[in-house]
Subunit: 341 residues, 2 copies
DNA sequence: CAGAATTCTTTACGCGCGTAAACTTTTACT
DNA sequence: AGTAAAAGTTTACGCGCGTAAAGAATTCTG
């Protein structure tokens, strides 16, 4: 490994015996040069481990290889995990993923969008905050940059990929009704359309089954779901406001808070004898297998959502044309039976 | 808001009636121009909302305003939260934070370092993976780029900021001994120096108190702490290998797994009568208040660690000289009493 | 083997901005 | 008011690369 200080493509081209434009071509797409020249370049690459200046590249390329990823709340392992999978897939496809978190805050999302814009990305994958989003801003962004939205369906951009909340909620409502008292639905102030769709799906499923839907709406709009679930859960239990001994929570993080509330109020949760109540969630959150008792829930198909999102994005990016009609892809959830319900 | 398409600084300078070099000066440091000119520029900024091309800026600046952040595992809310705080502080100081996660994997950390390097950052804040790290690579990186390491002390770079494990473990060991059976120490294969230091601190604290240290070492090296805590916890409990009814876990995530294990094995956890065992953790992890029962633990001073890390980094960056001696700043933990111990 | 098709080399320009130097204008202060 | 210091303007260059055009070299046809 020679330690010659190759700094520019000019120098590298000279050292490898290939002209600079050809070397440039190689870095843009190694397959675009003849086999023999590619081998010569790669041999030189081993000797000097040169990397083109990323800023100069992006300044001159018509379109960068940057792909922006914006998730609403990175401290939620659900999104962290999705972000990780998206990153990997982008890298594998030769792109340069850049990750932003909105930290649950409107202003952070706006900042992320602006920063991302200045990176002149080739495309973007955005999971909007939801209620707190500046929808017009995101829409304008999506007008200029090929964009796929996921997780939270906000009628933005050409493509949305997410979960079939209607199906998945239907699944668990049916299960809960079949195996015990029909569930009531516990939600915090809905931060995004998923929450609203799930409530709607709950009502429809209950009515389909000839049951009376009961909704407990509690807490303020916040991404601190566990805390809200805990506080409001304790309150509801203390005030004996629970219309059913079975509680379906709008998502797993709320359910985790509710489980803690039940525990702290001395209620045993589970479906066995001696249990005072059942609690179920939605998402199959990474933590849900470690709760006490482990949480019964419906899984979201993370990897399918991610894979499809990225594929669709590449489609838009490569086609160059706008889709005439907005496209939605929804994946079904699967029942995950654990002990809490 | 005129929608004139101002694209370059040249155009913007013309529109604002200021020369381009002065405008450039303004964007580098708004305080470096006269008040009156700054106001004229900012007035124009409102009209045209122009932003300098980030690639052109970084290509020409001697040193960029980029600051790299590498955390070992972003799906851990502990790191997600730290990353968020670091980002904020960098932005407030006029820098451009770029976040990477090593995803618990050696290769991801290496990739992050290489990518970061090509971004020619002004500085970097790195929480190394630990055992899995390519230490030589990080060291070489730190030789070239002003670097502060945090969380995991690997003898890298000029400055480390982290927790005083010796003090914090001492604190909880003393508490546990004072209020019940002396604790045994439960750990998974140590992924980083913190784990090792904590074990050592446990042994020292126990000996100081005249007790016999008992260490349960279980599981493989992995960042999937909860799962390991659960699996190994169940095994240890089933095999009756617990030397004490009080278990101090190496960190909260392991403790969360162990709590689940105890629950699934039918052991009631807590310090009250009727409880079979006590479980304590370390870190005051965001989730630890939602476990059943809520987890007794020692807090790490997140925000102090973050603030100091960033401050020290700015010091190094601005001083321009290497510190003659490696500097370590450690923060004390505080006892967080909840119900699990 | 000739001719066509590819691929490479040479040459040149420009991206948008940082930065330096020389000069001019504005401000601060005696 | 006069003068020095500070801040602005003008001019010019270069960063490292993408990219285009024209010509030379190579490889692919039949």
């Amino acid at each position: 490994m020679s330690e010659t200080k190759i700094q520019t493509m000019e120098e590298f081209a000279a050292a490898s015996g290939i002209s600079r434009p050809t070397v440039s071509k190689y870095f843009n797409d190694p397959g675009s040069v003849r086999d023999s020249t590619r081998q010569r370049i790669e041999k030189a690459l081993l000797l000097f481990d040169f990397r083109p200046n990323i800023f100069a590249i992006n300044q001159n390329r018509r379109s960068t290889k940057n792909i922006g990823i914006i998730v609403p709340y990175l401290a939620d392992p659900f999104f962290a995990e999705m972000a990780r999978m998206i990153e990997r897939q982008c890298i594998d496809a030769g792109y340069w993923p850049i990750l932003f978190s909105s930290h649950g805050q409107r202003q952070s999302e706006i900042n992320a969008l602006e920063t991302l814009r200045s990176l002149k990305p080739a495309g973007a994958l955005i999971a909007p905050l939801g209620r707190a989003s500046d929808l017009e801003l995101i829409r304008k962004f999506a007008d200029d940059v090929p964009t796929v939205t996921f997780d939270s369906n906000q009628e933005i951009g050409e493509v949305f990929v997410g979960s079939n909340n209607s199906q998945s909620i239907g699944l668990i409502v049916e299960y809960l009704c079949r195996t015990g008292e029909p569930p009531c639905f516990f939600e915090t102030a809905p931060v995004n359309p998923n929450a609203i769709r799930r409530r709607k799906a709950y009502v429809e499923a209950m009515e389909r089954l000839g049951q009376t839907p009961e909704i407990i709406h509690a807490g303020e709009q916040s991404w601190d779901f566990e805390q809200t679930g805990l506080n409001e859960g304790k309150r509801v239990i203390a005030e004996r406001k629970l219309p059913s001994n079975t509680v379906l929570c709008s998502n797993d993080r709320i359910a985790i808070g509710f489980l803690a509330a039940a525990y702290q109020m001395g209620l045993r949760v589970g479906r066995g004898p001696g249990c005072a109540m059942r609690i179920a969630g939605h998402d199959d959150h990474p933590w849900s297998r470690f709760t006490c008792p482990p949480l019964t829930t419906v899984s979201q198909d993370y990897s399918a959502i991610v894979e499809t999102s990225v594929e669709k994005l590449f489609e838009i990016m490569n086609s160059g044309v706008r889709k005439p009609k907005r496209e939605e892809t929804l994946f079904d959830g699967k029942l995950v039976l654990r002990e809490s319900a």
